[in-house]
């Protein structure tokens, strides 16, 4: 359904683009598109590294008993898988998409701070090399879980300080990236691009960036306290010295819960771009979507202790955190309602981005509903630390965040490359992913409800059948992901040419630029007429 409806506009500056060539183009990159590409490639590599760790976990859990992995290595795999996927795959993928799209969507020539942008990216490979190198130090990699709870984490070997330093580097990278996003949106919007004309992806990223600036320092503080407890004789979290390990959990989750929204808010933005395009209707309730996003961000700061109900807290605390958590269902419900209302009586078509957005809509909602179940204090006593929790957050993060990232890439890839990708293969990728993500994670609800604990390499025999099903789903899901880089590679190297507006229902400034966009886009700000045409909500 790609078609060339617009001749190249006056913004085609290809003729006088002066791109650096060779390795210098990437090492010294300051162009937002190049840096965006590097973030996305980095995220893709991390996705496959983290995914291979998940495969090892599912391999071990295929049958009861110890099969392939040493228990310590199993715990290392669960820890590293989480860190790789959260900090190495999902967050850099969103930053890559922000780099590519925000300047084009707000009519800016580049990110506001291009050299800082380069620095933010190049911290990441070093952070992850450091983290992955812990696998080869005496004692192995970190095995205390991504939550790094003391006293378990304090018992780590040589990997411990390396992990802390890697987390500091990731945090600094995220903060610098977030500052760049806010500064760009606040200062480089084209004249006429008022805040309430901005695309939802820009809005959700703006709010995400504020969340990042607010909570990444908290993580840094928490892990630094762990470090000083381990090496400098402090007792923040050591009960023997008068410290309190539960305090770490409070501080960690004060970061950790907003972090969940850092991973998912940009997904809301992407879905809010895709659904109107393939429904050929403006987004229903644009302003309500903005306010709902801001409400979710605010609420994310006052719900952290729902991760700690079983640790013990006063009844008033339990009630507060239970009810505030449930409140999140309201703005989230507004969003789900608005996406559904956008599709109502729309002229729908089901290209890969729309398929991923619809899958997101159904499956993220399942994750949201199991989240509501977990918010209920007495029920949480039953579910805590079981596979039900694993099923819940994987529904939120895989068919939630990861599918939205894939949908976003399928949506904007024709814009980036000027070529349409292999639609048949992309639909295969979608169906295999959607079917097997459910085979992988849905049985984990049953396992959790039946009492199977998480973070164990062995289990009682009554859990065997669903674990086998889950593992088969995992292997099939993992294998089907190899289609994705192949489809992208093929698209980059050729395909049916697309026009400026690769999708007929697409609105927004990025679709006014040629496909692929010139190396330097919007060197002249877009006209008010273009902005108004783009802001069709």
């Amino acid at each position: 359904m790609a078609y060339n409806d617009h001749a190249a506009t006056a913004h085609d500056h290809d003729a006088h683009d002066h791109k650096p060539h060779g390795w210098r183009r990437w090492v010294y990159a300051t162009n937002h598109k190049d840096i965006g590409t590097m973030y996305l490639v980095f995220a893709g590599i991390s996705f496959f590294i983290g995914g291979s760790m998940a495969m090892l976990i599912r391999l071990e859990l295929f049958k009861p008993g110890m099969q392939f992995l040493d228990p310590m290595f199993f715990n290392t795999m669960t820890t590293m898988h989480a860190l790789e996927m959260i900090f190495g795959a999902v967050m850099p993928a969103w930053t890559g998409l922000a780099n590519w799209m925000i300047p084009m969507q707000v009519g800016a020539p580049d990110m506001a701070l291009p050299r800082l942008n380069n620095f933010s990216f190049w911290i990441l490979p070093f952070a992850f090399i450091l983290l992955l190198s812990t696998l080869f130090v005496p004692g192995g990699g970190p095995a205390g879980g991504w939550t790094m709870y003391p006293p378990l984490m304090l018992q780590g070997g040589a990997s411990f300080p390396m992990t802390i330093f890697a987390i500091h580097m990731m945090g600094i990278s995220s903060i610098l990236g977030a500052i760049n996003v806010v500064v760009t949106i606040m200062n480089l919007r084209a004249p006429g691009m008022t805040l309430l004309r901005m695309p939802l992806f820009v809005w959700t990223w703006l709010i995400t960036a504020y969340l990042l600036i607010a909570v990444m320092p908290v993580l840094a503080g928490a892990v630094t306290m762990l470090l000083t407890d381990h090496f400098f004789g402090t007792s923040f979290f050591t009960a023997a010295g008068g410290g309190d390990p539960v305090m770490f959990q409070h501080i960690f989750w004060f970061f950790g819960h907003p972090e969940v929204y850092i991973l998912i808010l940009p997904a809301f933005g992407v879905v809010s771009e895709i659904i109107p395009t393939f429904s050929r209707k403006p987004l229903f309730g644009y302003e309500a979507m903005v306010y709902a996003t801001a409400s979710i961000a605010f609420l994310s700061f006052i719900v952290w202790a729902h991760h700690m109900f079983t640790v013990g807290m006063p009844l008033a605390g339990q009630l507060f955190f239970m009810l505030s958590t449930m409140l999140i269902a309201i703005p989230t419900g507004v969003k789900v309602f608005n996406w559904t209302a956008t599709m109502y009586r729309g002229s729908l078509s089901f290209e890969p981005p729309m398929l991923f957005a619809l899958s997101f809509l159904f499956l993220f909602t399942i994750g949201g509903l199991s989240g509501l179940m977990l918010a209920i204090v007495p029920a949480d006593y039953q579910y805590q630390d079981t596979y039900f929790v694993v099923a819940h957050f994987h529904y939120v993060l895989v068919p939630g965040a990861v599918f939205a990232i894939m949908g976003a890439i399928y949506y904007w890839l024709p814009k980036w490359t000027g070529n349409m990708y292999d639609m048949t293969l992309a639909k295969w990728h979608f169906w295999l992913s959607t079917i097997f993500v459910n085979v992988l994670f849905f049985p984990q609800h049953f396992l959790g409800l039946a009492g199977m604990p998480r973070r164990i390499p062995d289990y009682a025999v009554q859990f065997t059948d669903w674990n086998m099903v889950s593992s088969i789903g995992g292997f099939a899901f993992g294998l089907s992901q190899f289609l994705f880089p192949y489809i992208i590679w093929k698209c980059v190297h050729g395909g049916v040419r697309v026009g400026n507006r690769a999708w007929e229902g697409a609105h927004g400034l990025e679709w006014e630029l040629p496909s692929p966009p010139p190396f330097h886009s919007w060197t002249e700000p877009p006209s008010d007429a273009l902005i108004q045409r783009g802001a069709a909500h």
């Binding site: 800082l116 806010v182 500064v183 480089l188 691009m193 503080g221 700000p525």
Partner: protein, 47 residues
């Protein structure tokens, strides 16, 4: 065009000042959070 939702066309000097101002503000907030939180903890530990 500062962060007030208005949309007047800025000249490049004005825009650069805006970028610098917002970047410094956010950078300072992040740095104060980042360093301050760690420093506060270390100070508390040494009391």
């Amino acid at each position: 065009m500062a962060g007030n939702g208005t949309s007047v066309a800025p000249d490049s000097g004005q825009r650069q000042r805006g970028v610098r101002r917002t970047a410094l503000l956010l950078g300072s907030i992040a740095a104060i959070f980042y360093v301050g939180f760690i420093a506060m903890m270390i100070w508390r530990a040494t009391r």
